[in-house]
Symmetry: C2
Subunit: 533 residues, 2 copies
């Protein structure tokens, strides 16, 4: 497949006239061809108008037809083979093995949603039958189900060139629930975006979908992002990225005359509370696991553990952990912006009087050959300083950890209570600890989307129960998750039909339940009826 | 029960020092004693802090315990008997029979939610069991369920002194899902608010709940509203009222450093499409029903039909309708603000060149004895003018109707496509029409929360399937409903537990399913297990 550098606008390609950007290999420092061209205002509008026109026919497709589309996308991505792996790896500096895993996850996720919409019960169909003889007012027949919103703008994330990008979570859940999608590629991996974008465009063509169900735009700046969020026909936004980026788009979203769902996943320090029993029984294993979780992928995960809290004398455990961190080879970060932000943040934290630098890789001060290499860092502070300085809760995106020592369980709890919203929090300890420290689990449950026990926050399982979200500033809307079964809900709303003739109802709500889905009928969950039922 | 005029702050009462307001009888023009005192900044903060402190213990209660609280509230409201009916009727000008109905609806709604949280399946519990032997990465045990958000600010609506006020929909769904609530009373019916507020305070005391689960504040201006929406400990807002009021609070909400769910139900013109077959087969009945729906309660419903669209020659039907409207006696509106807004809006619309005044009650120009009386109005325009003038979509809150005539089905569809978001839309016709005009139902389904067939939009059934919401500007957040089963979702978010020991999980997620609820286990809906199952 030849890369052209042009946007994908419905079944056409964009112009080569806008400001150009190019991919960049952070491992070699070389730019990657071809150039990619920023979409013009007209192109943004065209993509959105096409999406808008395709909304009615696309949303009217059955779940099975939409599932076939998602499965075709997965097949097409698989068929890109090593071309995709090599390009994504070159553009991100991430090892080929990681990219292959991420591709597996991306395609599994497409199939996970395909299965969900094939079986169809996700629409939360509810039926309350009429009671025409009820006194004093007859009860009407009322039926409702979730329906899609319309064109959705989906933003690629820098740190996941596949799983949170063109065919990533937001695109997949939006398409699954019946919404057209306009994707904005990330400047860091435009070639990967184009390859996946063509896979989706070809799938849409093969499935005979209306033009506009999918578009992919590029931008060397921020104009396209803003134009998409501002566009009156855009009905929802999914973003994964930095806090600054998320907040600036949230402002644009807030300034719209018509408010829309705006989901930005922004920043998280994913605190890990290591209780004495964990250190006593398996301190070395915890230190090893934590080191692996904190440094895999150069710490460039939204769920990367950034803060580790201990109680009392934990020096043995800490020394083990610091030894592992300091023995970690430097690695390549995603791009120059990420590495320079990381270096600046590490350098600033190093200067904070409340913080002791336990270890910081020497290469920080130096430019290496490509400019994208960096090393690990470990900082230390105590509960008092933590509680006094809210800036210690700012995320450092990369392999840096802040150790916070509490002198007693009450201080540990105070640290938990002081936390801003996070994606995850982890407790390392014994089952008895969860009883002794029951307040800790309780407090953390109010601060995060996911509480882990004796696990590591990186590695987000795609399953029905997963929650990858959390209170602000982890996300802009803590009600939603961007991973897992509930992600299909984010670009939907319930629509209700009162006293409709059966034939005019969506199939999911027709009396005979032709879709064979689970429904709530007169307050009871009812499974699909048998043919003679 | 003696009215004191003081706010209810947890288990205490507010000061009598703030700016005073008093209830007002719109039928007699007399103020109603006692005076009510605006809450001070300190009182607002105290109510929120108490709510915040009560959040952990209140949210930890079982569904059964919270249900007992809701049922006690309903009992206490019932026990207020005619005292409540008389006060609410005096303060609103609404007839006693209507208030009794509304009380019945309010108490039924409390019991509807009580039943839902007693059975408990609403929490959407999901369990994905571990697969420790999975290659290449072991699958963790992941469980999640919906949890409450924290203190919720609930605003009383002027037009429903009971059902959308102190113990109304938002308060009930917030309390049901485990959130403390701070209610702001409406200036129009403070005495009703105090009576119901005391019923809730007494129920909280009787159930031994932590102080702060409920507070009720008053305000002669807008400071308390803004302070509540701005307060960092407030985690969600429910508002039903005017578009101006909703928009101004939405701005305050958007300016918060930490975004929160903000649900304002604001304005809706609830278009009714009367197709030729309906006129031919039962035009007179439709005219009568429409007249009743448009004038009951002086048209002061969010679901009041404000626009009626016909095709071709509908003059016979229109004349019948206009005759009924013009024969309607003047009535008392809720308060002086409402009546003066209504008069101003009717007078402005009368002057629009695109609009013909078909009927307008003569009393509009005159002040009557109490200043709160008004009559009906019927305006007429055609599709072209409708499409050219978006201001014709502005709601006139009261018994005024705009008739819009389309010359053919395509124009009818254009009108439908031009609609802003609404709570409801109605199609009057035959079952065959829904096939012939299938685009109409499709288009309307994308514009509203509820589509009715051969019914009238007023009268919102409280049932699992009801949707009382819709795209902007009907509401600020079209994903949610303020009435029906799904209203319990609005102040919740999913929280996930990974690899938690069974005993440390919320009961709803424990392996043995001790709550006996429906859950999604490994992707399958599973009912409560039998004791030996």
């Amino acid at each position: 497949m030849e890369l052209t550098g042009q946007s994908i606008i419905g079944y056409q390609r964009g112009k080569k006239t806008g400001k150009a950007l190019s991919g960049f290999n952070p491992s070699t420092g070389q730019p990657l061809m071809p150039n990619y061209y920023s979409a013009s205002e007209e192109e943004v509008d065209k993509a959105v108008q096409l999406a808008s026109q395709s909304f009615t026919p696309y949303s009217a497709l059955s779940g099975k037809d939409r599932a076939a589309f998602l499965r075709t996308i997965a097949d097409n991505i698989d068929r890109l083979g090593e071309t995709l792996v090599e390009r994504a790896s070159s553009e991100s500096g991430l090892p080929a093995a990681r990219i292959r895993n991420e591709r597996g996850r991306t395609c599994s996720q497409l199939k996970f949603f395909a299965k969900m919409i094939e079986s169809g019960s996700w629409v939360d169909a509810r039926i309350d039958h009429a009671e025409p003889t009820r006194v004093s007012v007859p009860k009407p027949d009322v039926r409702s189900m979730l329906q899609p919103l319309g064109p959705i703008a989906s933003f690629c994330a820098g740190n996941f060139p596949l799983a949170f990008s063109v065919a990533g979570g937001d695109t997949t859940s939006a398409l699954a629930s019946g919404n057209p999608v306009i994707v904005l590629g990330h400047y860091g991996h435009p070639g990967t975006a184009e390859l996946v974008g063509m896979a989706i465009q070809n799938a849409a063509l093969k499935c005979g979908l209306s033009e506009g169900v999918f578009s992919l735009l590029f931008d060397a700046g921020h104009n396209v992002a803003k134009a998409l969020v501002r566009h009156p026909e855009v009905r929802g936004v999914g973003f994964t990225g930095s806090r600054a980026g998320g907040m600036s788009l949230m402002e644009v979203s807030n300034s719209r005359p018509e408010p829309i769902p705006f989901y930005a996943e922004m920043s998280s320090i994913n605190p890990v509370f290591v209780l004495p029993s964990a250190i006593a029984s398996r301190g070395e294993a915890v230190a090893k696991g934590l080191h692996e979780s904190a440094t895999t992928g150069m710490g460039q995960f939204c769920t990367n553990p950034g803060v580790v809290v201990t109680i009392g004398d934990a020096e043995r455990f800490i020394s083990q952990f610091v030894a592992l961190m300091s023995a970690t080879a430097d690695g390549t970060m995603l791009n120059q912006n990420v590495v320079s932000s990381y270096r600046r943040a590490v350098s600033e934290r190093s200067k904070q009087p409340a913080v002791k630098v336990r270890w910081s890789a020497a290469t920080f001060a130096q430019a290496n050959t490509t400019g994208c290499s960096a090393g690990t860092a470990v900082f230390e502070t105590d509960a008092r300083n933590w509680l006094d300085d809210p800036s210690l809760q700012d995320e450092i995106f990369g392999p840096a950890i802040l150790l916070v020592s509490a002198t007693n369980p009450e201080e540990l709890l105070e640290i938990a209570r002081s936390l801003n919203g996070n994606l995850t929090a982890t407790i390392m300890g014994s089952a008895e600890d969860l009883i002794t420290f029951s307040d800790l689990a309780e407090v953390l449950g109010k601060k995060v989307g996911r509480v882990l026990f004796n696990g590591f926050p990186t590695g987000v399982e795609v399953c029905e129960a997963m929650v990858h979200g959390g209170p602000y500033p982890a996300t802009s809307d803590g009600r939603s998750t961007s991973v897992g079964g509930r992600a299909i809900l984010r670009f939907t709303r319930a629509v209700c039909y009162q006293n409709f003739p059966d034939a005019a109802l969506p199939a999911e709500l027709q009396e005979a339940n032709p879709c064979g889905i689970w429904r709530m009928e007169d307050g009871q969950f009812v499974q699909s009826r048998l043919p003679n039922g």
